[in-house]
Amino acid sequence: MTSLPEHPSATKLGLVIDLDTCVGCHACVVNCKEWNTGGYPAPLTDQNPYGRDVSGAWLNRVHTFEAGEGAEGRTVHFPKSCLHCEEPLCVTVCPTGASYKRGEDGIVLVDEDRCMGCGLCAWACPYGAREMDMGVGVMKKCTLCIDRIYNENLEEADRVPACVATCPASARHFGDLGDPNSEVSKLVAERGGYDLMPEQGYRPTNKYLPPRPRRDATAAGTAPKALEEASPEGGFLGWVDKLLSAV
C-alpha cells in the first residue's frame, strides 16, 4: 500500500551521522553490502565485479566534499543512505504497492515480490537513496537493517544497523528520533543536527551533525612562517654564505 500510514506511531527510527568524526574509511559501506547481500534485500548483486566497468547496487555511499575556501577549507566525508523521510515521495509514486512506509517505526521498505523495476521511486528521491539491482530487476534501498534491529537471535548490543555496528569512529548513531529523550535526539539537540535539503519538503528522519568549529579559530588564518632566505645579505649567515660560495 503506497499511501502513507494514516496513524503513524510516534516512533521514528533513524540514523544520526556525525560529519565531524567520520574519517571516510568506507567501512560502513562495505559492512552494509556484506550484511544486506545475505539479509532482507538479498542478493545485492554486482555486475562485472572483477572486470572493467564494475557496477552494482549499494545501499550506503560515502562522498567526500570540500567546504570553504583556502585555509578555511575543510574536507568533509559524507555518508549517505536512505533518510526514511516522513514525506517519502518514493512511496506514494509507486504504482504497484511495492514501496511502503511502516506505521509502527517509520522505516521505508520495498516489497520485492511486487516491485516491477520501473525506477520511478528513484526519480522521486532527491537524495539518491535508491538503486536498481540490475541482477534481480527490483529496486533496493536501506532497510535500516530491519533484520538486525529486531533480531532476538543477536546479542542486544548487536541489534543496530550494520553500518552503525562497524563504524570505527562512532560517527553513526541509531535510535528513535521521535522520542525527544532518546540518546540520538539529545545528540541532535546538543550538536545542532540538521536535515538535508529541507527545502524539498521530505522531512527526513535521519539527521546530520555538522563538523565542529576549529579549536583555535585564529591559527587557521595565520600563514606558516616563511623559510629563511637562501642567499642572505649581511650578518653571520651572509658571511658564511659568501665564504662557502667562494670555496
Binding site: H63, V93, C94, T96, W123
Partner: protein, 315 residues
C-alpha cells in the same frame, strides 16, 4: 535525466493515439466525420495502434515486466498507477464506441455516449502521464505548471494531424479538420516555447550547500566520488549530450513539428486530393518527429537534485 527511449516513444505515440481517439469520440457523434465503417475502422485502427503500441513500449523499460499487473492497484496515491487504470478503462469504452462505428455505422445515441466517455478517458490518461513528471519534486524542469498543458496540447495536436491525414487519404480532406490541426499545432508549440523560457530562467531551490548542509563553511564541491565507476544513479540521472546541443535540438524540434508540419497541413487542404493526401501524411509524420525530439529534450534538459552530490562528474 537520461532519455529512456521506450518512454519517449511511449509518451509520443500514446499521446497521439489518445489525442486521435478523443477527437474521434467527440467529432464522430457530432456527425462532423464520415459515418461509413471503413473510415471509422481506419481512423480507430490508427488510434489504437498508436496508443497500444506506446503502452506496450513503456513496459520495455521495466526490469521485472511480469509484475506490471500490480501497477493498476495504487491509483489512490500514484499517477503512474492512475495512468494505467485510465488507459485500460479508456480502451474498453473506446472498444464499445468502435463496435458501434465499425459494425453498425452508428455514432449517435448510446454509441455517442461511449465516444464522449472515451474522449474524457483519453484526456484523463494524458493528464496522468503529465502528472507522473509534474509530481516529481527533485526535478525542477518537470515540476512545472506548464508540463501537463504541454502534454495535453501535444496529444491534441498530434492527434489532430493524424486525423487530418486519415481524412485526407480516405475522404479527400476536410478544411475544418485541417484548420483545427494547424491551430492545435500552433497552440502546443506556443506553450512549449513559454515552457522553455521558464526553465531557462528558473533556478533550482537546492544547491550543493543545501544538499550537504555544509554551506555554513563556505562553497561546497565534490572532492572524491563515493565510487570509481558509474552507478545506477549516474546512468539514470546524469546526461550531458543533449544539453550541449539543446539550442539546435529545440530548433530542429520546432521546425519539424511546426515549421514544416503546419504548412504541409495547409498544402494538404489546398492541393487536389492525391498530392494533398501525401502532404497530410507527411505533416503527421513530421509533427510526430518534432514531438519525439521535444520529448527527448524534456528528459535530457531535466536536472535531478541527486546530481548535486556528484557535481563536476555529472553536471
Amino acid at each position: 535525466m537520461h532519455p529512456a527511449y521506450s518512454v519517449i516513444f511511449f509518451t509520443t505515440a500514446s499521446g497521439a493515439g489518445f489525442g486521435l481517439l478523443a477527437l474521434l469520440g467527440v467529432l464522430g457523434p457530432l456527425q462532423l466525420l464520415p459515418a461509413d465503417r471503413w473510415f471509422g475502422l481506419a481512423a480507430l485502427v490508427v488510434a489504437f495502434a498508436l496508443a497500444v503500441g506506446g503502452l506496450l513500449s513503456s513496459t520495455l523499460h521495466l526490469q521485472s515486466p511480469a509484475r506490471a499487473r500490480y501497477a493498476f492497484s495504487q491509483w489512490r496515491s500514484s499517477w503512474l498507477s492512475r495512468e494505467g487504470v485510465a488507459s485500460i478503462a479508456t480502451m474498453m469504452v473506446a472498444g464499445v464506441f468502435a463496435i458501434g462505428w465499425v459494425l453498425f455505422e452508428a455514432t449517435a445515441g448510446w454509441w455517442a455516449l461511449a465516444g464522449l466517455f472515451s474522449a474524457l478517458g483519453a484526456a484523463a490518461t494524458v493528464v496522468s502521464t503529465g502528472m507522473i513528471y509534474a509530481a516529481l519534486k527533485p526535478i525542477r524542469q518537470w515540476r512545472d505548471p506548464l508540463v501537463v498543458p504541454v502534454y495535453l496540447l501535444f496529444a491534441l495536436a498530434t492527434g489532430a494531424v493524424w486525423l487530418d491525414a486519415v481524412v485526407a487519404v480516405l475522404a479527400g480532406g476536410n478544411w475544418a479538420v485541417s484548420l483545427g490541426a494547424m491551430i492545435a499545432l500552433t497552440a502546443a508549440w506556443a506553450v512549449k516555447l513559454a515552457y522553455w523560457r521558464r526553465i531557462d530562467t528558473g533556478r533550482s531551490k537546492s544547491t550543493p550547500e543545501s544538499a550537504t548542509g555544509l554551506g555554513g563553511l563556505g562553497p561546497v564541491r565534490l572532492l572524491m566520488a563515493p565510487h570509481t565507476e558509474e552507478n545506477y544513479l549516474q546512468r539514470e540521472m546524469g546526461y550531458r549530450v543533449a544539453r550541449k546541443h539543446a539550442v539546435k535540438l529545440r530548433a530542429i524540434a520546432a521546425i519539424a513539428g511546426l515549421g514544416l508540419a503546419a504548412p504541409l497541413v495547409l498544402a494538404g487542404w489546398l492541393l487536389p486530393a492525391g498530392p494533398g493526401a501525401v502532404c497530410a501524411v507527411f505533416a503527421a509524420l513530421l509533427a510526430t518527429l518534432g514531438v519525439l525530439v521535444e520529448r527527448w529534450l524534456f528528459f535530457a534538459e531535466a536536472r535531478h537534485t541527486v546530481t548535486l552530490y556528484y557535481e563536476k562528474i555529472m553536471a
